[in-house]
């Protein structure tokens, strides 16, 4: 009895500091503060924090966020998906093939593409849970297969690897607008009128604000982050995601449908990749066979910066979103500051290493391992 109370007291001295430390988001929060402080001090006169500058890095961060949410939940459920980048290229190409080459209405092209990609995600998951192979290997195979088809199909049908004409094909389409449109246009026009943001002074857009609305891409990113966070922390299914990744056998013993959870998370990752792809082709007006290259690693890095453990069972969607924000701000910030862009990769490598070391340390704090 005394033993129990004693050990309690021993722990309590540490508890406040530990409690502050034992948050998966900690690394992401510290990183964000550091990154913003750095660029505010060094690049504030470069236009990075003007309205167009903010829009610029917000869009890039939102892109990272969309795929990071999927990768985050999947990693917490104990699996990886290396085929995200190929899936982005593949989904974009499918939309172009259906919508432009075959001339389907854009909404149908988008819906069918979603169905195909989510089914491919389910197949990834099914193979992983059925064979018990590491998802690393299974999705590495998918990475190559999908990339191969993404080059092969347009070459066979159109004799080229970039298909344009999507902007025209999507003109007036209700579903395309949900991915490629902008919201709050009136609000931004008003901001321009009252002089809160600058307006074009020349050209055919004279008088219109330089930022004329919030791209749907950003709305998708925020929506996915919020929904992902709530599902993970506030629902029964979220508890199953943690359990499936924490210890699949233990989870099975108490009746968590581990296989179903994992397959659903693969499907969700594919869904996120497809959202990314649709937003991208709507923005560029074209699909290219090389789109999405290396995105799977960028997503995983954002998730790890956000505090998730590579071994599964621990992490945070908010953390992953902060990781994506750090990513976007640094990538674009270096551009604004005129730094050689290759240094971005150096930064990535360094921050990844720091994040993993911090995460390992936090894991020890939580589990009491030495």
């Amino acid at each position: 009895m005394t033993d129990a109370t004693n050990s309690d007291e021993r722990i309590k001295e540490m508890s406040r500091l530990r409690r502050a430390l034992i948050r998966p988001e900690l690394g992401g929060m510290v990183g964000c503060v550091a990154v913003f402080t750095f660029f505010l001090l060094t690049a504030s006169d470069s236009g990075m924090f003007s309205s167009t500058g903010v829009l610029n890095w917000s869009v890039v961060s939102a892109q990272f966020m969309i795929i990071a949410v999927g990768a985050c939940l999947l990693m917490i459920a104990g699996e990886f998906d290396l085929s995200v980048g190929s899936m982005i290229g593949f989904a974009g190409m499918m939309i172009a093939i259906f919508g432009v080459t075959l001339g389907w209405p854009m909404w149908m092209a988008i819906l069918v593409t979603f169905a195909i990609c989510i089914a491919l995600g389910a197949l990834n998951g099914y193979i992983v849970v059925r064979t018990g192979l590491p998802s690393f290997i299974v999705t590495l195979a998918t990475l190559f297969i999908l990339r191969g088809f993404t080059i092969f199909i347009p070459q066979t049908l159109e004799r080229k690897t970039i298909i344009g004409g999507i902007t025209e094909a999507a003109e007036g389409d209700w579903l395309a607008a949900i991915f490629g449109g902008k919201v709050l246009k009136g609000f931004f026009a008003w901001l321009g009128d009252i002089g809160m943001i600058s307006v074009f002074e020349r050209g055919n857009k004279v008088g219109q604000p330089v930022v004329d609305g919030i791209p749907m891409l950003i709305i998708w990113a925020l929506g996915l982050v919020i929904v992902g966070h709530i599902v993970l922390t506030r629902t029964r299914f979220g508890n199953w995601i943690f359990a499936a990744g924490g210890d699949a056998q233990a989870a099975r013993y108490v009746g968590v449908p581990v296989e179903r959870v994992k397959i659903l998370m693969f499907m969700f990752t594919a869904f996120c990749a497809t959202v990314f792809a649709v937003c991208q082709v709507m923005e560029f007006g074209s699909a290219g066979a090389d789109r999405g290259l290396l995105k799977e690693f960028e997503a995983i890095i954002a998730v790890v910066i956000g505090g998730a453990l590579l071994t599964g069972g621990y992490g945070s969607v908010i953390g992953a979103a902060l990781g994506a924000l750090i990513f976007g701000v640094v990538q674009q910030g270096l551009f604004f500051a005129g730094v050689e862009s290759s240094l971005f990769r150096v930064f990535l490598g360094v921050i990844l290493l720091l994040a993993v070391i911090l995460n390992t340390y936090i894991r020890r704090l939580i589990t009491g391992e030495r």
Binding site: S15, R234, N239, A243, A250, A251, Y253, I366, T367, G368
Partner: protein, 258 residues
């Protein structure tokens, strides 16, 4: 009285390994049934066929008089059969209350949507743990920071909470101190008196004798016989579990119950 669970000729094969080779046991409400046997005898495998983890290769499970086929452990838990597994089924990175309700999370509705009721989960967890004699720092403490015995206590408290009809304990006292062991044995006694059927696996004959009403010995995947309390002495049980050459003489002392 009708048995709550009747296991008839249960066989379980893992590939070429025959873990269970025709085991027949009845479990009654309000009884503490001790399963004894050597390491590898098949005790854990046997209770896993009861808790829905394994489907028996052959044999029949009757639950409350009706044939029962649990497809997964959730169905067993929903039917009121809860289990403390030998390896506990706890996830170190998750909090105590998330572990406690893992697989059976309480739900509250907000705007028609189902959410995990964390307040209820935390409250119940703290209350049940206090009842088991463990003061948690908080319900959000990670299970990984608990000692082995504390973890075992969480697993037991969880099973007691969900085991409305049958409570299966696979060596629940192996890591426990004196006070916690006494607590677990008292808990077994208490739930048995409430009419719950307790299945208690242990290697400790003193613990078995302290709470057991009947004793079944498993040996190499077969039942060695069921003895009723009073018909068997601790020494006889001890010898029976030890296995080996004494077994032949012990069979006699079980007196016809084989």
């Amino acid at each position: 009285m009708q048995p709550i669970i009747r296991m008839t000729n249960i066989e379980k094969h893992f590939g070429s390994v025959i873990a269970l080779n025709g085991v027949t046991v009845d479990f009654f409400p309000g009884e503490c049934h001790c399963l004894l046997g050597d390491n590898g005898a098949g005790k854990s495998t046997f209770i896993k066929t009861m808790s829905g983890v394994h489907k028996p290769t052959r044999g029949e499970i009757c639950f409350e008089g009706k044939p029962m086929h649990f497809d997964d452990p959730r169905e067993a838990i929903a039917a009121g059969i809860a289990t403390v597994y030998q390896d506990l089924a706890m996830i170190p990175l998750m909090s105590v209350s998330r572990n406690f309700f893992m697989g059976n999370e309480p739900i509250k509705h907000r705007m028609g949507l189902p959410f995990f009721d964390h307040e209820l989960a935390n409250e119940v967890t703290m209350k049940e743990m206090r009842a088991m004699g463990i003061n948690l720092r908080g319900p959000d403490q990670a299970v990984g920071t608990l000692s082995g015995g504390e973890r075992q206590t969480v697993a037991i408290a969880r099973a007691v909470y969900f085991g409305a009809k049958v409570l299966i304990l696979d060596e629940p006292t192996s890591a426990l101190g004196v006070r916690q062991t006494a607590n677990v044995l008292a808990t077994v006694d208490r739930v048995r008196k409430q009419g719950i059927s307790v299945v208690f696996i242990t290697h400790n004959v003193r613990h078995a004798m302290a709470v057991g009403d009947r004793f079944t010995v498993l040996n190499r995947g077969k039942t060695f016989g069921t003895a009723t309390r009073g018909d068997v002495t601790p020494e006889e049980l001890q010898d029976m579990m030890a296995g080996g050459q004494e077994l032949a003489t012990l069979e006699g002392s079980l007196g016809g119950t084989v």
